[in-house]
């Protein structure tokens, strides 16, 4: 056997070995991680495990510090990247591990059906009485008349425009179909937003549209008026800043942030209505610290927390006391008053078939 051959054999052996080591190293790392987790859970303080989006109110260091001192506990956050991920977390080992999580309408009915949430005893929540009436009529957090999740914050997808480029007061959703703004409009590339918006413009029920064909025609009619469809908030901001668009669909939260940054943006919930969303807190089935979970949710919907978050750029509060603490002008400007709220059509849960149908309709519009 030549030296060359031996060398090659050694190299092959090294390659195979290093691959095996890489594989085992991954496995080992995981094990160590979970060991550490177990160690910290043996602390003497009550540990409250919260699942939420990153940088979304509850993980503000000041909020955590205040709550931990008040109730002598420890808050641990775990983050989710999508609603689907939260559902997966709950289905695969989340019960008995998490205390409080933040679902929305896209997964709540499924999760409640599967028994992933505890029923909420609202009498244990002092601040529950201050929540706007509108939220008590939403179907997503209820089953058989029982409540399974507490509304926390809300917002809308409505109309925003550049008040330097538009010299009229816009109050109708039909501005998105206005030839006057041809080439200066930005509609959203999202099947749910698109179909609900067209349904609102046509006077159909946005949650259960009666005539999908008319909606398709309405969207096709709207298509050539756009500069472009937008997908991410960042795209919208750039188009707006470069004056490439004058008016478009926009989220209440981002419009507020842009206004704070000094952009000439005006946000309106049109008279025909707009799309609304709600984030809910739910107590996970078999939560290790149910009492603390109630205290946490009660604090999250309290006037002091909600007011503080709203004025520092957070979404709209469900607590009516928090809204009433602000002056009229601010309430109107931020579109967080009860009149704005009552104009909204909240995104409802739809089954796979409806989602498929809506998505296909939107693909067809885009393919025209």
């Amino acid at each position: 056997m030549s030296i060359g051959k031996t060398l090659k054999r050694i190299i092959a052996a090294i390659l195979v070995l290093s691959m095996m080591m890489a594989l085992t190293a991954c496995g080992g790392g995981k094990e160590q991680g979970s060991n550490q987790e177990n160690n910290t859970s043996e602390g003497e303080k009550t540990k409250l495990v919260v699942v939420n989006w990153k940088d979304y109110g509850s993980d503000d260091p000041r909020v955590i510090k205040y709550f931990e001192q008040q109730y002598n506990c420890e808050i641990v956050h775990e983050y989710m990247a999508s609603e689907e991920e939260l559902l997966t977390k709950l289905r695969t080992g989340g019960l008995g591990k998490y205390d409080v999580v933040l679902p929305n309408a896209s997964i709540l009915p499924v999760a409640i059906d599967e028994g992933l949430f505890e029923e909420v005893d609202t009498s244990k929540l002092e601040n529950y009485q201050y929540i706007f009436d509108k939220f008590s009529t939403l179907p997503e957090n209820k089953k058989d008349g029982k409540i399974y999740a507490v509304p926390w914050v809300w917002g809308s997808t409505a109309i925003a425009y550049n008040n330097e480029l538009v010299d009229e007061e816009i109050d109708s959703i039909n501005v998105l179909w206005d030839e006057k703004y041809k080439g200066m409009i930005a509609f959203r590339d999202d099947f749910n937003d698109a179909i609900m918006t067209a349904a609102i413009a046509l006077g159909q029920d946005p949650s259960n549209p009666s005539d999908l064909n008319a909606i398709k025609q309405k969207l096709i009619e709207q298509k050539p008026l756009n500069r472009t469809y937008w997908k991410t908030g960042d795209e919208w901001s750039k188009l707006f800043a470069n004056k490439q668009i004058a008016v478009g669909m926009m989220w209440s939260g981002q419009a507020a942030t842009m206004k704070k940054a000094g952009e000439p943006v005006t946000f309106v919930v049109p008279k025909e209505g707009a799309i609304g969303w709600v984030d809910y807190w739910g107590v996970v089935k078999d939560a290790p610290n149910k009492d603390m979970a109630y205290k946490f949710i009660d604090y999250m919907i309290s006037k002091e927390f909600q007011l503080q978050w709203t004025v520092s750029g957070g979404p709209a509060p469900v607590n009516s006391e928090a809204v009433n603490a602000l002056d009229k002008e601010t309430i109107n400007e931020m579109n967080i008053g009860e009149d704005s709220l009552n104009k909204l059509y909240f995104i409802e849960y739809h089954g796979e078939d409806v989602k498929k149908q809506w998505n296909e309709l939107w693909q067809e519009v885009k393919a025209q």
Binding site: R9, P224, Y229
Partner: protein
Amino acid sequence: MKKKVLLMSPAMFILFAFAIVPLFIMLYYSFLSDSAVAKFTLENYINFFSKGFYLKLTWKTIKMSIIVTLICIVIAYPMAYIMAKVIEKGKNLILLLIIIPFWTSQLVRAYSWLVFLRDGGVLAQFLNKIGLIATTDMGILFTSKAAIIALVHIFFPYMVITIYMALEKLDNSVIEASKSLGAKPIETFRRIILPLSRPGIITGAILVFVPCLGSFVEPRILGGVNGSVIGTVIEDQFFEIFGWNFGSAIAFILLAMVLLSMGGMSLLLNKEK
């Protein structure tokens, strides 16, 4: 010999475990129904072919990919020829310059085009300054032209490199013989250089055309309201509605088209031989 073949095993293992196996998993998905209890079905494929607009989008995607491929050939050929046959020094530098854009992410490059092509953007202002356009509006961004420009930019290096390699192999004495026998430069090019470099062009065309068919980032970001291509439909299936089954079916229809076009092109190649 046998032992040398064993050296391929790590690469084969990676290819098998992370490319072939997932491919078959996706193929399996593409035959599943969306019902609660998944069953074997042809529904996903039937749905694709029964809706006119999916076929329309497929044709649009093919057309776009052909245009991108042709533009790539036109701009890559002279460059490759000059690198292979005209200049002596600096070839490596030019090759390096061609390869450098590969080191930035595709998304970053798409966003750079967004800044560069927009009305009132860098290019529009420059063209306006030198008097080529009257206003600073070009109207290119958010049309399919913008998507094509970005795709050409991303894929033309493959074309340059494959044509360059074909021309580099081409024996200079053949060209000289043609000249000394009295052929004009155009005739030399048409009858000697072009046929001999055709394998490079065809390989390059495959490397450009195939990924172009599946592209979705550039059409989505730069194509505006008409930016829908078959790639964006697949993307929406996976990310918007978790429609893995239908998404996989479209992906496999695309794969079948790719295999067919590659088969066609390799027939062309074999004919040369």
